[in-house]
């Protein structure tokens, strides 16, 4: 375990216990999509597109009082060490489901009855915490698509590595560490919309881990806001952004 955490409390990638990996978000990266985003979260590289609200196919899936949200989390075959079969795995199907359930409470789906909103999350390169990075980017892409929302959704994991509770688990810490807890948070409503745990935590560690993950979500939230501001409230470079210019006045 000392490999993951030095005596001085420095982690395998040089971070301290409460430090996030570098996060970069770009808004409006795909021309055809109604909304899109690109995120780099540590070594994760993920692109997200939103299509909709649009007509539902098959028609019987439509709901009379609200829009249907559909999410697909998918990893490209070359995004991981060993080639991944491109067909959706059981892991990807589960992550697609929990991603949908993490994003749904933030959206005002009642504003778009009898329609569907599709969210496509494609992992180009994966590191630990790709589900959190995907949710974070998807929320930004939904905002870029102009979907009415109550809040953004920011996601970040915390966990236990080398006996300590640490923020934002990377790939090696996920594989070798003792616990991984991905959390998605609605920063203004102060609500948790995703919570999973793999690994053992005492009751006190659980509380500490949850609070640390939420503090990470708040940091991610400010990066999400900055990215959206850069596109929609840029004053220095009028109309200078490349994609999705149609959303501007």
């Amino acid at each position: 375990m000392s490999r993951l955490m030095s005596e001085e409390g420095i982690r395998i990638d040089g971070r301290r216990w409460n430090e996030l990996r570098p996060v970069r978000i770009e808004v409006g990266v795909l021309k055809n999509a109604d909304g899109s985003s690109y995120i780099e979260f540590g070594k994760n590289k993920i692109v997200v597109a939103v299509y909709g609200p649009k007509e539902v196919h098959p028609k019987h899936m439509a709901l009379p009082d609200r829009s249907v949200l559909r999410c697909r989390y998918h990893m490209l075959p070359f995004s991981v060490e060993e080639r991944k079969n491109p067909a959706p795995s059981r892991r990807e199907i589960e992550i697609s489901k929990i991603t949908r359930e993490a994003l749904e409470p933030a959206l005002i789906l009642e504003d778009y009855p009898r329609t569907v909103i599709d969210v496509f999350i494609e992992v180009l390169q994966s590191d630990g915490g790709s589900r959190c990075a995907g949710i974070t980017a998807a929320s930004v892409a939904l905002a870029d698509a102009g979907i009415n929302m109550r809040d953004l959704v920011a996601a970040c994991a915390a966990g236990k590595v080398g006996g300590r509770i640490v923020l934002d688990i990377n790939d090696e810490e996920d594989k070798m560490g003792e616990a991984d807890m991905p959390v998605a948070y609605l920063p203004n409503l102060k609500q948790v919309s995703l919570l999973q745990l793999d690994g053992k935590l005492t009751a006190d560690e659980y509380r500490e881990c949850l609070n640390l993950a939420i503090s990470g979500c708040m940091q991610v939230y400010s990066i999400q806001r900055e990215a959206l501001m850069r596109k929609y409230f840029a004053t220095d470079k009028r109309g200078g952004d490349e994609g999705g210019g149609g959303e501007e006045e």
């Binding site: 409470p105 102060k190 995703l194 919570l195 053992k200 005492t202 009751a203």
Partner: protein, 286 residues
């Protein structure tokens, strides 16, 4: 990408009625908010399986079977045995169940149950190695849901746990790098008994062990597995609602306290329904 279709008007009326009752700390079926339904566990009913259990939690009924084979270990884990957990909702389980490949709900069910057992390290996988790097025991847990009435997560988890606790597997002797099957059978090496507790949030109330009616009205669901030391080993939030931090602290303490209660229930059911089962479990856990 399956999305459940709900009959909105009927459900909204139901939800209103349920919320009113919950405000008075009552539930439609008469239970208190923190009560789980009657739990019955019968083990060893399938002789062809290495271990089996039939569990009913109220009207929810599931059957789990354990099959143990000898297999090669995963290349990155040469000194660990294999544990593979699968779950399906049989077409006979409800008027709405349909045959076909598992949908996202069934996949989530299997993965959440698997996570609780794996992360608690219930089975000592390092003691399932026959020839290091070459031959290990592979433990397959397959669960079929026979009747659905909510909280498939806990019923399925209890069934797998009870079946594993009572499973007997053939002993192998190693002679010149070859495996020789003996007539003797041995129990699986067990470290702890994980217990899954599922709770639902309806309005601002947290209820334990939601039935199908309550699940149809719930905002969100959370499943927590705890081990014998009262540690949380696995969690999964589900449903399109949210929890506050206070609620998450509440559900964690509930999962720990109810978990130890249910653990004793599982222990005593397993002990009473199979002769000698309890002794072998005790000796493995101590």
């Amino acid at each position: 990408m399956s999305v459940k279709k709900t009959t909105t008007i009927v459900e909204q009326l139901r939800r209103a009625q349920m919320s009113e009752l919950l405000a008075m700390n009552k539930r439609l079926d008469g239970r208190g908010l923190k009560d789980y339904r009657e739990l019955r566990i019968e083990t060893g009913l399938i002789k062809k399986a290495n271990g089996s259990a039939l569990v009913s939690l109220g009207n929810t009924q599931v059957i789990a079977g354990i099959k143990v084979e000898v297999d090669e270990p995963f290349p990155d884990m040469p000194d660990k045995g294999l544990f593979i957990c699968n779950a399906e909702v049989l077409p006979l389980a409800s008027p709405y169940a349909e045959p076909g490949p598992p949908d996202e709900d069934a996949i989530e069910l299997a993965r959440v149950v698997d996570r609780g057992i794996r992360e608690s390290e219930m089975i000592a996988l390092d003691r399932l190695v026959l020839i290091s790097g070459k031959k290990v025991y592979a433990v397959f847990a397959d669960v079929s849901v026979l009747n659905t009435d909510g909280n498939l997560f806990d019923a399925t988890s209890y069934a797998v746990v009870a079946a594993l606790l009572t499973a007997r597997v053939p002993r192998y002797d190693v002679q010149d790098e070859k495996l020789v099957k003996s007539e003797e059978t041995i129990p699986l090496p067990i470290n702890t008994i994980p217990v899954s507790i599922t709770m639902a949030k309806i309005g601002n109330s947290i209820i334990v062990d939601p039935n199908a009616e309550e699940e149809a009205c719930m905002d969100a669901r959370i499943t927590m597995a705890t081990d014998e030391q009262g540690r949380v080993c696995a969690m999964q939030k589900g449903g399109s609602g949210t929890f506050s931090v206070d609620q998450l602290n509440e559900v964690a303490s509930l999962a720990i306290s109810l978990g130890s209660e249910v653990r004793e229930r599982i222990r005593s059911s397993v002990a009473s329904s199979t002769g000698g089962g309890a002794n072998s479990i005790r000796s493995m856990t101590s």
